[in-house]
Structures are given as C-alpha cells and as structure tokens.
C-alpha cells in the first residue's frame, strides 16, 4: 500500500511537471496582457503533431522536435498578430471571442490534417527502469523531471536576469508607460507568444512521449489542465505554474488510482471550482490580478 501510494505520487509528479510546462507558457502570456490565451493548448497539440509527422518522414527525433518548436512558435505569433493584436484595448469580450475562434481554426485544421483518431507516438528515447524502495522509476520519469527543472531554471534566468525579461516585466506592470520608455511592445509581446508556444510544444512532446500517444483532443484537455494549474498556483505567476502543475498532477493521479480514471475531467474541474471560490488568486498569486 505504501509503495503503491508512492508510485501514484511519482506518476502524478511526472504528469504534473508536464502540466506545469503547459501552464507556464500560458501564464507568461496571461501575465503580460491579461488576455486569456485560449489557443495555447491547441498550439501545443499542433506542434506535437508536427513533430510526429516529421518523424514519419524519417527525420531524426531531435531535428523533428526543432521543426515542431519552430512551427509552434510561428503559430503562437500568428495567432497573436492576427487574432489578438488588432483587438487590444477593445471590450474584453471581443478578444476572448476571437481567441476562441482562433482555437476553432486550429482544431479544425488539425482534424483535417491528422484526423480525429489518436496516433501512436514512438520516440527513440531510451526505455528502462530501476526500482527504488518498491517504486518503479522509468527513464521517462527522469527525462520529464530533468527537462522541467532545466526549463524552469532557464525561464527564471530569462525573465529575472536579462534585458528582455526586464522589458517583459515592464510591460506586465504598465503597458503604456513601457511603450513611452521606448520598449518595442509589439516585438516583445510577439516574442513572449513565441516563447510560450515553444514551452507548450516541448510539454506536448514530453506528454506524447510519456503516454506514447497524440490526439487532437489533447488541445482542450491541455488548456483545461494548464488553466487549473495556473489557478491553483496563481494566475500570471511562473513559480505558481510549477506549484499548481505538480499539485494538480498528484491529485489527479491519486484520484485516478484510488477512485476511477473515467472521472478524471470531473475531478480536475471540481478542484478548479474549489480554488476559484476559495483562493481565486492561487497559492502565490500576484496581489493585483485584474486591472479591468
């Protein structure tokens, strides 16, 4: 029983690390413009499918990932440029509607190109496992934890210690003033969307490799999980994304292991509602969430 519990927690942490990576890409954008990036989950799904298609043509795995990242970043920037930017400053419902519309375009395109059925995702990543105190640790666990830790640290460096990060924080705090100070707002926003999408696609590849599958529906579940992770941790906070993602992963794994895996979405949703009511700003949320 004890080791079974530990096993569920380890599995949950791995799933949670992936959620955290989706959530952090989502949170970066939300923190910047306070605009819900509804298409984030879909960019992550399309990018992962691109990696699969590239591998199908015989391109080696690392190059295929690179291709997926480039396409993902391009998509993120395109969505920002065409669906969000022209509507900056409009009544909030307008960009929200167009964000949803952009998602529909991506979902439809993915359904036409790759079809609605789930596809197998095989990677040349080494498969192996060791047993520690009755808990099975696979190579995939190691890869997921390692990637998430490296990306988390890299992201922290990027946002806190570089001139680019300073611009991002300036825009987040006050967009018009940042613009007056000579920050190229549009270029920075564009680059944040690209970065968020890159993190999303990386999370997507990890997800696909971890579960050995890709499917169009993972766009929505990705959005829902990322959003829940963001709400648990605190909307707009990078640290919060990781706390929220890991928490969500563990709770889901425990619920699936000891209750029923068929009600996974329901469990996620109930957690989301509880947090929205009890702690709408999350565990480490920034004090001022809405300037509207």
């Amino acid at each position: 029983m004890g080791s079974e519990l530990m096993q569920q927690i380890v599995n949950g942490l791995a799933a949670g690390a992936i959620y955290a990576l989706i959530a952090v890409g989502y949170n970066l954008v939300f923190g910047l413009l306070e605009l819900i990036n509804f298409s984030h989950g879909h960019v992550y799904m399309v990018g992962t499918f691109v990696v699969l298609s590239l591998m199908d043509t015989g391109i080696p795995f690392p190059v295929a990932i690179l291709g997926g990242l480039v396409i993902g970043a391009g998509l993120g920037m395109a969505v920002e440029r065409f669906a969000y930017r022209p509507l900056r400053g409009a009544n909030r419902i307008i960009p929200t509607v167009s964000a949803v519309a952009a998602t529909l375009v991506l979902e439809n395109a993915a359904n036409i190109i790759w079809g609605p059925a789930a596809r197998r995702f095989d990677t040349p990543l080494p498969k192996g496992s060791i047993e520690v105190l009755g808990v099975t640790l696979t190579t995939m666990h190691g890869i997921v934890f390692g990637t998430a830790a490296v990306l988390a640290f890299g992201l922290w460096l990027l946002v806190e210690k570089t001139p680019w990060g300073r611009s991002v924080r300036a825009i987040r705090d006050d967009l018009p003033t940042a613009q007056l100070m000579g920050i190229a707002v549009n270029r920075i926003v564009s680059s944040v969307y690209a970065l968020g999408s890159i993190l999303g696609v990386l999370a997507g590849v990890l997800f696909a490799a971890y579960y050995s599958t890709v499917y169009v529906g993972m766009g929505f579940t990705g959005t829902l999980n990322a959003f829940t992770a963001a709400v648990i941790g605190g909307i707009g906070s990078i640290k919060g994304s990781f706390i929220g993602g890991l928490t969500l992963g563990v709770v889901q794994a425990l619920a699936a292991g000891f209750l029923s895996s068929g009600y996974m979405n329901a469990i996620t949703f109930v957690i989301l509602i509880l947090f929205l009511i009890a702690r709408p700003r999350g565990v480490v949320g920034r004090a001022e969430v809405s300037r509207a």
């Binding site: 519309a101 529909l104 375009v105 579940t221 929205l276």
Partner: protein, 344 residues
C-alpha cells in the same frame, strides 16, 4: 408591454426621427405598418412560409435539414442571450443540451410520463444545472467563466460515458418512442416539424422580449461597463445568474427535441466541439441579435448539410469569419444596431 413601463425606450422611425406612439391599439397597428412597411411585409411573409412549409417542401431530406436547424435555434439563441446580451462567455451549451436530451431519453423509455411534460422536466433540469453552475461562474472574473463552463461540458461527457446503468454509456440510449401529445402522434419528420417549430418560436419570442425589456438593458449595461452599471445601482450577480439559467433551459428544450427527433441519444452529440459550434453560430450573426442567432444556426447547420464539402471545414471557416467580424464588425453580420459599438 404595459403602457406604464417606465423603463421603456423612445420609439424611432427607421430614419431615426422620434415618433409619438399612437394610443389606441388599432391606430398603433396602422402606424407601425406605415412606418416599417418592408419589415412588416418580411415578417408576415416569413410567418406564412413557416406555416405552409410542410406543404411546399417536397423531399423528406430537406425537411430533415429544416427540423435540425430548428433544433439548433434554441441553443444558438440561448448562447447569444448569455454571451451577446450579457457578455458572459459561457462555453458549455452542449452540457445543457445533453442534460435535456438524456432526461428526455431516459424518461420516455422508462416511464409513462406524457411527452409534453417530459419537455418541461428536461427544460427545468437543464435550467437547474445552469443555475448551479452559474453561481461560481459569475463570481469569478470574465475569462474564467468559459473554462468553468467548458469543464462542465467535460464532466457531463464523463458522466454520460461512465454512468452506464442510466445513460447507456458510449452506446447511448436507443428506442425513444415517437413524440405523442394529447393523442396526436408525430409519425414523420413532417409532423415533428411542428413540435420543433413551436419550441424554436417560443425561445425566439422569449429572447426578443428579454432583449426589449428593462431586464435586457440591465444585462447590456453590465456587459458594456460593469463598474458603471454597479455604480448606478444595478446588481451584478442576480441578472447574470438568471440569464445563464434561462439559456440552459433553452438548451434543455433543444436536447429534448433532439432525443425525440433521432429516437436515440449518445455522448458523441455533446462533445466540446458542439459547444464551440453553438458559440460560433450565436456570435457569427451578431452579439445580442436574435435574427443573427437564427441566421447563424442556418448558416452553420443547413449550409454544410446541403453543401457536403463544407461539412469538414465549417468550424475553421466559421472561426476565420468570426475573427474578421470581431476586428471589422464586432456586432456581427446582422449585429443589432441599437447597441453601442463594442469597441471603445
């Protein structure tokens, strides 16, 4: 509308000049006819066409398409009441649709409850689910709402697939009997047309009435500027809770229609794509426009049905059209001209 309705808007002619409203009913009818001849003619022609529809439509296939459109109209109108009029981005209309459909399917196959009563139960249950979900939904800030409601859609799907004893799981609930009311049996799609028409017409009338009422203007005020509306003494929560419940009731009615139309209910009719399709059809014809919602339902249901190649790309095509609309014409193809432009 009562003559003493203090919140009543002034009446304007089509060219914008204010007019005095005649007092006696007959004089008022004559006045309206004189002021809006084109509109009145169109409405009269429309009503006549609706009444002779089963006679003039030759093929069962076309009739089927028309009935399917009528089923989607309450969904589209309900969505637009919430999103267009009240500005709440609910995105789980398929959840209420499913509640209505499963209620109708289960009650009609397992009980002897008269079918019109089943429609009312389906409506009330869906409305109740809408009411319950609206309580957390309107308390959180706008953008959270559609994730919460989309989550509701996923939960309903989970329940529909897992609770096999009641819903039939992935296989669904087959064997729903023919719709029967007061001894009249709907034996074909030509008969069922009248049932669908009545439901669609009631929902349309209700939406028009809400839009023209003081309550409708309260919702618009909350959508346009919540802070200013609250400062003017408008309560922000209750009006939006009610509109979500009303919209859910319309979804429940549509679900009951679907159940009796198909004779079968399964989870695939209610996945998240359906919620998004409903969202699209409501918005594409204009935020807060009832005509627009009806046009949206026809555009996204009948057109792809008749032009098969459009079927696969309708969601994406609709998405592109909506993005362009949001940028260039936020009030939609037939957007209501009475509201202020949404882009500030």
């Amino acid at each position: 509308m009562s003559k003493l309705d203090m919140g009543k808007a002034a009446v304007f002619a089509d060219d914008g000049t204010p007019i005095d409203v005649a007092t006696s009913p007959w004089a008022r009818v004559k006045q309206v006819l004189a002021l809006r001849p084109v509109r009145i003619t169109l409405i009269v022609v429309g009503i006549v066409v609706l009444f002779v529809m089963p006679v003039i439509v030759p093929s069962q296939y076309i009739m089927n398409v028309i009935v399917v459109c009528l089923i989607w109209i309450p969904l589209s109108i309900g969505q637009n009441l919430v999103t267009g009029n009240a500005g709440v981005t609910v995105m789980g209309q398929a959840a209420f649709y499913a509640v209505g459909a499963y209620t109708a399917a289960i009650l009609s196959t397992r009980t002897e409850i008269p079918h019109p009563i089943i429609f009312l139960i389906a409506m009330c249950l869906a409305g109740l689910v809408g009411f319950v979900i609206s309580l957390p939904a309107v308390r959180v800030s706008g953008d959270y709402v559609f994730v919460v409601t989309l989550g509701l859609n996923l939960i309903v799907l989970d329940v529909a697939r897992q609770w096999i004893d009641v819903t039939g799981g992935a296989a669904g609930t087959p064997g729903i009997p023919l719709f029967t009311a007061f001894g009249w049996v709907s034996r074909s799609v030509y008969d069922f047309y009248w049932v669908a028409l009545i439901v669609a017409a009631v929902c349309t009338a209700l939406a028009v009435a809400i839009g023209a009422s003081r309550y409708g203007r309260t919702l618009t005020a909350l959508r346009e500027d919540r802070m200013a509306a609250e400062a003017s003494g408008i309560r922000a929560t209750a009006p939006r809770v009610w509109i979500i419940a009303v919209s859910a009731m319309m979804g429940g009615l549509a679900g009951a229609l679907l159940a009796f139309h198909l004779g079968f209910v399964g989870p695939s009719s209610f996945d998240t794509q359906v919620s998004l399709l409903i969202f699209e059809m409501a918005i594409i014809g204009g935020l807060g426009s009832v005509r627009g919602s009806i046009l949206g339902a026809v555009l996204l249901i009948a057109l792809p049905e008749l032009l098969r190649p459009l079927q696969d790309i309708r969601l994406g095509l609709g998405g592109i059209i909506i993005i362009l609309l949001m940028i260039y014409r936020p009030n939609g193809i037939l957007g209501s001209s009475s509201t202020s432009p949404l882009v500030k």
